[in-house]
Amino acid sequence: MKKQFNNDLININNLEKGKTGNADLDKAFAEMNSSPLILVSEEVGYIVDNAMVSDVTASVIKNTIILGGAVLASAIFGWMYFQYNSHQKAIRYPKKAQVKKMIPFEQNKIKLSSSNGNSNVSSEENYIITESNNKVNSNSIITSTKSTNQTLVHDVNSNIISDNSTKKTNAAKTLSKTEDQSNQHLAEDSKKSNSNFSKTIITQRYFDDGSAKMTLDYKNQPVRITINSRGIESLFINSEEVAPAYYYLYDDLASEAFKRAKIEPLALPTNDANAKPNISAMMTGALVRRALITNGEEFSFELTSSTAILNNTHLNSDIKKDLLQVYQNAFGSSLPRGGKFIIGKQK
């Protein structure tokens, strides 16, 4: 056999299938080649058909999943857009229920939250008022001291009746009160509130000069009003400015604004704050509201930076400060040192 095989090596270029030169090997090769196949071509056709079917099935499933996913995704995005849109509308035209959840507004405002329809005034940033709850006299005037050395004077309803600050800035001023006090006051306010208003204040901000800007919902219309002690600085209803000549038409709106801002109106609430003030009339009204005189009573009053004399009687320093603040609010600037404001003539 080896001899034959060596011949094959010599004839390397004449290799033929099944002819090795070894008879046993050739026979074995022939047997191997005649053995049946483990897989016939019909089975292969079956395998390929199955693969095609499963391919189609997989393709259908894949397409269905893609389509379903696309539909689901568009539904989710649609829902999110709807929610976002609703939220935007709620900010522009807030409803009572939605306003309860509205916390973040622009930088200078009072944050409001509501638990039972009443609003709570909460503090913001570093401007905090600590209430000393000092009763001044029988007229129940309460003095509050701000951390910025400003003094606010409130009446029993927490209406701010004076503020000694003089510089107007755009800085945010927020009031902080104890929850009980706020609830109490606002509950009272809401009882008094006109039905034309929604019970919830939307935004409200205070400025150093004692003015306040707020947004209200009045007769289902958005209202933006800026007031100070002398009256209305500006009024926008439905984003349209109302001329001062027509302020008188909105007496209930102005009264509500003063009530909510807790600012003492020194003249009529609908007075044009930019008009030349009648300081004497304003001071008279302030004295009447403080029960220092009665309405229509003749009196004499003299106010300097160091003294306040009513009917020849010196008023205590707290009332003097309060009245100096009234003067400042009415006039627009503080009484100059050495200056004197007189109503009537001291006997």
């Binding site: 049946p36 196949l37 897989l39 071509s41 292969v44 693969a51």
Partner: protein, 161 residues
């Protein structure tokens, strides 16, 4: 399928000669066909389908062989699984011995031998498939035959003794 049908027997013989286990061989052939079917678009020329098909089969077998090598070595039990439907038991024994002898050949000799003797590929085709020169293929074929004869002679000698 028109491309595949002429190559069917060649492919199956190639696989069933190298792989002992019948079911294993069937699996490899099926996987090869499916793989070639899935990536049929990659075949640019019809002439290349032969090489494409056998290359896939080679890779599948190598992968299985490596896996099996790690898991279970070739044993008599596995050898017994190699069925052959030859009517004659002697023929069956010859086939079994031949398969056994082929399995003992080094890889570089086994593949050209099987492709040439059982799958019926030409020297040129084998050279292209194995990326060898034609003379290299011939050389390996001769050495494969030589070693196979020695193995078979040895086994016959052992049996005689």
């Amino acid at each position: 399928m028109s491309l595949y049908n002429p190559l069917h027997e060649r492919l199956v013989r190639f696989v069933q000669t190298i792989v002992w286990d019948k079911e294993e061989a069937r699996d490899i052939v099926s996987e090869t066909i499916l793989a070639s079917y899935e990536n049929f678009d990659k075949v640019k020329h019809h002439e290349a389908f032969l090489y494409y098909l056998f290359t896939i089969a080679k890779r599948k077998m190598n992968r299985r062989y490596v896996q099996q090598k790690r898991q279970t070595p070739w044993t008599d039990e596995l050898n017994d699984k190699a069925e052959d439907s030859s009517p004659d038991a002697l023929k069956q024994l010859q086939v079994k011995e031949l398969k056994d002898a082929i399995s003992h050949l080094p890889e570089k000799y086994r593949e050209p031998l099987v492709l040439f003797e059982f799958s019926g590929l030409t020297i040129k085709e084998i050279a292209k498939l194995t990326q060898l020169t034609e003379n290299g293929v011939k050389s390996r074929l001769v050495r494969a035959r030589q070693q196979l004869s020695q193995i078979l002679d040895g086994s016959l000698h052992e049996k005689t003794i």
